[in-house]
Symmetry: C2
Subunit: 352 residues, 2 copies
Amino acid sequence: MNENEKVTIYDISERLNISAATVSRALNNNPKISLKTKELVIKTAKEMNYIQNRLAQSLKSGKTFNVGVIVPYINRNFFSSVIRGIEEELSPRGYHVIICQTHEKFENEVRNIDALLNTQIDGIFISISKTTKDNGHIQKVLNSKTPLIFFDRKQDSPVFSSVTIDDFNGAYLATEHLINQGCRKIVHFKGDSNLEIYTKRYEGYEAALKKYNLPIKKKFIIPVDSTVEAGQLAVSQLWKLKEKPDAIFSAGDYSALGAIQELKKLGVKIPSEVCVIGFSNEPFTQHMELGISSVDQTPLEMGKIAAQVFLEQLLGDKKLTIQKKVVLAPELYIRDSSNKSQVETSKRKVRI
Amino acid sequence: MNENEKVTIYDISERLNISAATVSRALNNNPKISLKTKELVIKTAKEMNYIQNRLAQSLKSGKTFNVGVIVPYINRNFFSSVIRGIEEELSPRGYHVIICQTHEKFENEVRNIDALLNTQIDGIFISISKTTKDNGHIQKVLNSKTPLIFFDRKQDSPVFSSVTIDDFNGAYLATEHLINQGCRKIVHFKGDSNLEIYTKRYEGYEAALKKYNLPIKKKFIIPVDSTVEAGQLAVSQLWKLKEKPDAIFSAGDYSALGAIQELKKLGVKIPSEVCVIGFSNEPFTQHMELGISSVDQTPLEMGKIAAQVFLEQLLGDKKLTIQKKVVLAPELYIRDSSNKSQVETSKRKVRI
DNA sequence: AATTTTAATGCAATCGATTGTACTTTATTG
DNA sequence: CAATAAAGTACAATCGATTGCATTAAAATT
């Protein structure tokens, strides 16, 4: 009774003395098959514990209903949230999400792209690594006619779509907010210049200073990795200078946290003496006793929209010329670390 | 020159006037093929931008080199870290990880299992949802002869392997630590009783109290979801009692955080008046000004070991009787929230 | 040069589902 | 009741790679 091997439509067809074609059509609810047959087939399939082999189906149809997502690390809150967004949008449509990590290494990115193309995924979502230089691997994707969507960390591309936030504006508003708090000597912790997101954030910072006629000082623009340690180190060095800053706009939350820790150690009052604002709105920023102001990148939404762009692309003309650049509005969360006016703001959020 | 369609081994065989079988063998480095031919084929394949179709290969071999991971939410630090561990262990062996979310809903879990079996994955890793009741879906996996590994939140199963931490002992040690701090009236925030991890934690708490001859009071055992709000609420209600607790052992970090926030609001000193310890060692617990003590579940290691168990299973006898139960040791991180002695402990960790 | 080994390669079936086309029923119509 | 239309099924090719077995070509042996 209990078949030992996997049940196929051939097993069903044999049992019912009909052709496999009929079984297939019956299971796919093809109108050419009589109701009687359909019901019989479906009932028998259930009885025999038939499980459709999507592999064979995919081979035939050329569609796998799998998409690949490439990120530096999946356990970084921002990335896992984007992935969640993608999954939630695509899962109801029958897609599965395959995840790949690059560990910020270009070589892994290339390897992952190759592997995904191999697996015949229907699309790729990618946030490039810090060390990604050329775009040969992206070119390969283009050749294979596979849709690809950049999110957050993109490469300039005349053909591929992207979903990002307006990093320039996020940074501009963060800086402007600091200026509004009365800060005049604002330090910027700058992220890796290889990534557009960080150069944009830097430009937004600069633009805000210019707008308010504040001088742009080289010594106040410091390359800082987004780690607690880097933030601590940066502050400890900054506070050896004669001219002390009165605010820090960090391109990352972890370095903002490190800065705050070091400032406390130095006995500097926050926000009265120095205001601090980060970027990413990591969960911990709101849980601190002294909440850290930050710019939210709306990762969940970013994932969902990236998925939508992908789906649109599929429907549209097969030519990959339907390139689309979505830029989301970042959200400024003002918390204690930059709020001198001490209004109740722990939950105040400024939608830009 | 530039083929419009995908290149297959047939295209290569045509171009070289050899059979597809030879091409296949050449690409697979079969010893029966002459070096000359091999080199020629490989060179031509590269020229023609040949990409192997793993779908066809999988159909033939019955192995997809895909595994599925089912979790409640992928953007919960614990789960994304386990997934990271799984990915890092399996990726070098050519496997891909497909992720599925249940949103803590049983129906989604069933759906996900079905979908994964459909896709012909080579294995499933699952952490069951809070609402999972029966195990019909797990039975289906058994019928399909697909290896399945439970991690963290498991179901009792005589056939499937699992990788968990010793929740009982983690809870026992956390409670013992509180007792060692001089606490005598210890509250327990208990998680959903449907999950073994939480009943085990409760039992560990109870055992520690018994060991030290402390009374077990029903009113001090409170069902609390692991959210900040639930933690706040629980404390605000507890502190209406005549007899105030002097410690809280929470089965989750978020509720521990909520408790701390509420205690501060009530003007209760931590840790001098009340000690608090959580569970999970979420990243934010160490970043707080007042670090929150917690029990680490070593998620990365859990993922890696789960992957190893899966690989072992593949090598072993095809019969699924090679069931293996791995129990990892939790790690106690003692921080300010429960450390009255005020020794430098921000990084002290007790390996059990 | 003839024959036996050995090395290379080709043929054809297979994995499981889908689908255009051909064929056989059954129903409809004059 | 024969002829035609409509409905229901079956045949066989296809997707792309793999592999046991047969076959051919080359090398070694006598």
